[in-house]
């Protein structure tokens, strides 16, 4: 937790999303994980310092089958394709409940106060103990609104009927604030908001639009969680350089994952915002980690530490997740973190 308070720790903390069946098989000898205890155990055996888990669906919710291929509807009415092992565990949303915006009139969002939402988190908090931080995951206002409508509908409606997009975003913000507050009461150490604002190249919507349709809501979420005394980590893929000032201004404590391929420069971000936020990620999960040589992984990790860790406020992680990255390769990265990530950070020549 010291890293989040921008203080130097004995060593930089290690984290990642363990989205990889091979890792569970090799570390625990089984896949899929049988429950929260397997997630915690796998995290422990890898020697990581934090675990991330979503809030659960409501207790009595049963996935509704959507087709014979195994697709299903989630609690929001989003049609999710069956999750293939290599892309586990995030389902692809194949159809959107508000693709036809006229359906907004009768749309009923899920109830944030429904029983059962904190079940996994409560168990994780119990099992994690003192040495592992629990990050409670909630959704982001922009990306979840765009997923309810689909990107094309979102874009058109944003121009033609902006009030409808605001209404959806308001609904999503309310849900995730209330769920997040419950996760805090259940004992999470950090709230992690998953918001994606851009592609590798550019933002999904313009900075001008984001300042209306996304950022004010994000700020409200951050405020609500911080008011309850918990730091907030923002997961945001893509090239967000054009709105980075605004993003930092929402009051977030951690920025993740700072993607290399999306032109996010951790050195620049450290220099500009290092006194305000903790930086997490930036080891290239697209080329270096899955395809590079051991030497390349070692060098990139060393370089990242030497730039981001001095003075504290750095958490080592890939710049997306461990999807498609072998256990050995992930371990190489974490081992470099253990070896070279001890404060005070010495000059490392990559």
């Amino acid at each position: 937790m010291s890293a989040l308070h921008l203080e130097e720790t004995d060593r930089i903390p290690l984290f990642d999303f363990l989205f990889n069946p091979e890792i569970f098989r090799k570390v625990l000898g089984r896949f899929p994980p049988s429950g929260v205890s397997d997630w915690v155990e796998c995290t422990k055996r890898l020697g990581l310092d934090a675990i991330w888990l979503w809030a659960d669906a409501r207790e009595d919710f049963q996935l509704k089958p959507a087709d014979e291929k195994g697709a299903f509807y989630d609690e929001w009415g989003q049609k999710c394709s069956v999750v293939k092992e290599e892309n586990w565990p995030i389902p692809w949303i194949a159809d959107h409940p508000l693709k036809d915006i006229e359906k907004l009139k009768e749309y009923e969002p899920p109830d944030p106060f429904a029983p059962g939402r904190t079940k996994s988190i409560e168990e994780a908090v119990k099992l994690a103990g003192e040495d592992m931080a629990v990050l409670g995951g909630v959704g982001g206002p922009f990306i979840n609104a765009a997923m309810l409508t689909g990107f094309t509908t979102y874009s058109i409606v944003m121009y033609e009927r902006p009030s409808a997009i605001l209404k959806i975003t308001e609904m999503i913000t309310h849900f995730h604030i209330e769920v997040g507050k419950r996760l805090i009461d259940a004992g999470v150490d950090v709230i992690k908001i998953s918001e994606d604002l851009g592609s590798d190249e550019t933002l999904f919507i313009s900075p001008k639009h984001l300042r209306v349709f996304g950022l004010p809501y994000l700020k409200r979420m951050v405020n609500a969680f911080k008011k309850k005394g918990v730091p907030v980590s923002l997961h945001c893929d893509g090239n967000i350089n054009a709105v980075l000032d605004d993003v930092i201004e929402t009051g977030i404590d951690v920025l993740h994952p700072i993607q290399r391929k999306a032109h996010m420069d951790i050195a620049e971000i450290k220099e500009k915002y290092g006194d305000k936020i903790c930086l997490m990620g930036n080891i290239d999960a697209t080329e270096t980690l899955p395809l590079g040589s051991t030497e390349e992984i070692v060098n990139e990790t060393k370089q990242c530490i030497s730039v981001a860790a001095p003075g504290g406020g750095h958490i080592l992680a890939s710049d997306h997740s461990l999807t498609g990255i072998s256990l050995d390769r992930a371990k190489t990265m974490f081992d470099v973190g253990r070896k070279y990530g001890k404060h005070p950070i010495k000059e490392i020549r990559a």
């Binding site: 394709s81 293939k84 290599e86 892309n87 692809w92 194949a94 990107f151 094309t152 979102y154 874009s155 058109i156 944003m158 121009y159 033609e160 592609s199 590798d200 190249e201 550019t202 933002l203 999904f204 919507i205 313009s206 639009h209 054009a242 391929k261 999960a285 697209t286 080329e287 899955p290 999807t323 498609g324």
Partner: protein, 220 residues
């Protein structure tokens, strides 16, 4: 109203993302006797180029590209009956799809829009497409170009399988392959034996245009 003035109405309504105005302008154009192929090239094509410039200048973002794509589809729906009568020569034929194991289609749909606006016949085979299906479609349509998309690191190697399948079917030499998407790069394109890497949707569609021009020149 002069022909140029009517065409500029189509162009501007697309460039300014006017969803309601664009199909009306296209209808007006076609009813005034302007050949639909000219409306596609001078109206939609030029309008889409202007949208592309605005994107490069960071005036437009992905949302605006998607709206432009939707406008183009609506305009093409208006023009379709007339286009069929005219039987305009297409610029070229492209088979496009997202490779097996990958369900993402945002980037692909933007490329489809740009290719259509440039007058290509586009055969979109969808998402999660196995190698054999790409081969089959290239054979069936005799397309000059195959465009492959992927967003996931876990599915990018599938692109190599598609290229190998083209080789095995004996049609690798008859089709140019361009790849695009988050995990791929120039280097990766070379490694798997693709002909080009489209860093973004605009570059990808420009590559296709260039190939077709080269082919036409060598045929002349």
């Amino acid at each position: 109203m002069s022909q140029e003035k009517i065409l500029s109405k189509v162009r501007n309504s697309l460039m300014n993302l006017n969803l309601k105005e664009a199909p009306k302008a296209a209808k007006e154009a076609v009813e005034s006797g302007i050949p639909p192929s000219l409306i596609v090239s001078e109206g939609i094509g030029k309008g889409m180029e202007a949208v592309g410039e605005k994107y490069e200048n960071k005036e437009y973002f992905l949302a605006e590209l998607l709206i432009a794509g939707e406008i183009m589809n609506r305009v093409l729906t208006v023009l379709e009956p007339y286009l069929r009568i005219e039987k305009a020569e297409a610029t070229g034929k492209v088979v496009i799809g997202t490779v097996k194991g990958d369900l993402h289609d945002l980037g692909k749909s933007i490329v489809v829009t740009l290719l259509k606006s440039a007058g290509f016949d586009v055969y979109d085979v969808g998402i999660d497409v196995p190698a054999e299906k790409f081969v089959e479609k290239v054979k069936e349509t005799k397309a000059e170009i195959l465009a492959l998309s992927a967003l996931l690191t876990t599915s990018m190697m599938e692109m190599k399988d598609v290229i190998d399948a083209l080789k095995n079917a004996g049609i690798r030499e008859s089709v140019k392959v361009v790849i695009g998407g988050h995990p791929v790069s120039e280097k990766f394109a070379k490694e798997i034996g693709a002909d080009a890497y489209g860093e973004n949707a605009f570059i990808g569609s420009e590559i296709c245009k260039k190939w077709v021009q080269q082919k036409q020149k060598s045929n002349d």
